[in-house]
């Protein structure tokens, strides 16, 4: 049965999560780390069956990482951005591999580029970067210019 956006927002509000109506067909939900699995299981049970992807954003000034779980429903035609904030100092979050198998590779990628640890994910080996030694490169405090000067001894000519 197809639900419209308003009834989905109402359903989520009843569950006690904060919902933001962003655009037509797109809503954003802020969830707590402990509630993540329950929330995604609930979304899946009401027909949100497609995990588009997972990505992370480094909010360095606030000392937090934001993980965004993109979930789309083929029945309701609604895209939900599920946002979880975790501390930058202790970036640990439960894995969702048991819910969606392809999350394995998104989690591996995020672990590689942000250093976030997915609790319960058995394989967080590097997927893209070989012999990486520095801090994870998509973090905001990773300076590409300084890195290449240091690693390759490049001098900057003006």
């Amino acid at each position: 049965m197809k639900l419209d956006k308003e009834s989905i927002i109402e359903l989520l509000n009843q569950k006690g999560v904060e919902v933001l109506d962003l655009y037509p067909n797109q809503i954003s939900v802020n969830i707590k780390k402990d509630n993540l699995l329950n929330h995604l299981v609930f979304l899946r049970s009401i027909g949100f069956d497609h995990l588009s992807f997972i990505n992370a954003v480094d909010f360095i000034d606030e000392g937090e990482f934001e993980l965004v779980y993109h979930v789309w429903s083929y029945t309701h035609k609604i895209h939900v951005l599920n946002k979880v904030r975790i501390s930058r100092n202790n970036p640990v979050i439960p894995t969702i591999v048991n819910l969606w198998e392809q999350a394995q590779f998104y989690e591996q990628e995020i672990h590689e580029f942000f250093g976030i640890i997915f609790e319960g994910n058995k394989d967080l080996s590097p997927l893209f970067l070989e012999n990486w030694v520095d801090i994870p490169p998509l973090r905001k405090d990773f300076d590409t210019k300084e890195f290449s000067v240091r690693l390759f001894g490049a001098e900057i000519r003006r």
């Binding site: 069956d49 965004v68 993109h70 392809q102 490169p137």
Partner: protein
Amino acid sequence: MMDSPSYMLSKIAEKDNLTVYELFFGPNHPGMHGNFGYVLEMIGTEIVKVRPNAGHLHRGFEKLMEQKLWVQNIALVPRICVADPDPNEVAYCTAIEKILRVDIPDRAKFLRTITLEMSRLSSFLMGMGALAAAVGLYTAMNIMTADRDLILDLFEWLTGARVYHMFSIPGGVRNDLADGFVERLYKVLDHLEKRLIEYDKLLFENPIIHKRLKGLGYVSKEDAVKYGLTGPNLRASGNPYDVRVDDPYAAYPYLDVRVITQEGGDALTRAIQIRLEFEETINLIRRALKTMPEGEIRLNLGNLSALKVPKGEAYAKVESSKGEFGYYVVSDGGMKPYRVAVRGPSLPAGLLLAQKHLPKMKIDDVAAWMASLAICPPDIDK
């Protein structure tokens, strides 16, 4: 007896059967598209285990985009998918327009739609050609490559570039159609439609392809959704979902997009799916050209080099020839994006499905399997 050649050979075969060896399928392999590879553990010609070997093509786009102006990134985004570059531009621009909360002129929407569909045609031609080459039918590949050039010529006329068009910009498109463009596009479409008969004879009705692809890489209707497959791969498994219809963007709300679905879910069905969608795309361009309105081609957003996007975030997705291409853009209100994250359509098939399908498969089928799923490594690596 003991030293006869046949006895020696059988001994070697027995020994070989027990030996597991590692084979690098790519990045330097004729059956591999792009700089990507699988490390296959093999017994004889049969695959036992597979490990994706990505990263040869990682160019750090997501980091680079944080260091460039909003409009400078238009030159970067098409490079994420070489075969089908336009969906990247449109998704990136749509995400910016969503945060800006502006609606672009109707003619710009139609121009975007037409370039998207032309890009889809050229990508399908490349995809069908790759599939043909993977099963050894090089003639089909050669005439498809030649036909793709006709579309690239049109792109060159319209945008000045053959492969990376940089045609969409925040607020609309760069330029309008030149005089005589529509007529020539119609001519190319007619030519491609006629060519379909030849494609059918050379490729889709060829017993070789039926023999090689039937039953290969089967994905059930439920699994296709569960594994996150999108686009033609999803529809070839019997799911009638298409971003152009479900979450319309550009001019698709004004157009009658016919979603083609097939039951089957194996490589042969996916190959025929691309062929059917190719035919439908030709008709869709004709319908778009007929209904295209006159008018402005872009909004005046001031000097685009000084464009500032208000604080906010948006996810925009586009149905590319391989599936859902999505851009998640975060702005902190400055001159540059705070974060751009890209969802490429090839990751679920190229990484997850590879581990499900490739074991027990013969080495000869890997290239055909990859081509049938339209796995395009540049969007895994980014």
